[in-house]
Amino acid sequence: MEISSQIEGAVLTGPDGALVASTYDDAARGERVAEAAAELMRAADESQARAERAGITQVVVELPDGAVVVVREEGRAVAAVTVEEPTVGLVLYDLRTTLRLAADAEKPAAKKKAAPRKASPGKAAPKKTDGDA
């Protein structure tokens, strides 16, 4: 997991909430950050602002000594801790890219599983049609 210099550390969690990747050398610390970030997202989901709108995809909390940024997409989430006064737009871009790469990395495996077997000699391969007309 490569990240920009404004990000001190980041964790990536899968749809089941389990830690998938982390920039922290200490695995236990990565787990703690992932759990705390999941709590943050739960609090965001339970907020009044959420009750009146669609689902939350990103949360940015800026504090005097750094920021916490969480981006969520298709169940996966990436949470980052940044330096003071980060360029939030760049951090969000980095995290969205990380999520996209994680999703792409899983796609080939899924495609392999779903790939149809070669048609047997007696059967004709299904033809692709553009519709009924």
């Binding site: 001190e8 550390g9 922290y24 610390r29 703690r32 950050v33 759990e35 705390a36 970030a37 709590e39 943050l40 609090a43 965001a44 907020s47 009044q48 602002a49 959420r50 709108r53 669609a54 689902g55 939350i56 995809t57 990103q58 949360v59 940015v60 909390v61 800026e62 504090l63 005097p64 000594d65 750094g66 920021a67 916490v68 949470a79 801790v81 003071e84 006064e85």
Partner: protein, 65 residues
């Protein structure tokens, strides 16, 4: 003379205020982004914002401990 003194004092006060604001660093801020592309900045006096600030402090503490 009085006018110049008043202007000088006003300038000094403005300078001190600017310096203090720079020293104070960034403000706390909570932004939520939604699936429909909208964004909400929570008022820091709201209970929701306090809860989210607390959770974010927990994340920072977990990352830096």
């Amino acid at each position: 003379m009085r006018k110049a003194l008043a202007l000088g004092l006003a300038g000094a006060a403005a300078g001190i205020a600017f310096w203090r604001s720079r020293r104070a660093g960034p403000e706390e801020r909570v932004d939520l982004y939604f699936e429909d592309g909208s964004m909400v900045s929570l008022a820091l006096t709201a209970g929701d914002a306090e809860r989210l600030l607390d959770r974010a402090r927990d994340v920072l503490a977990a990352a830096r401990s």
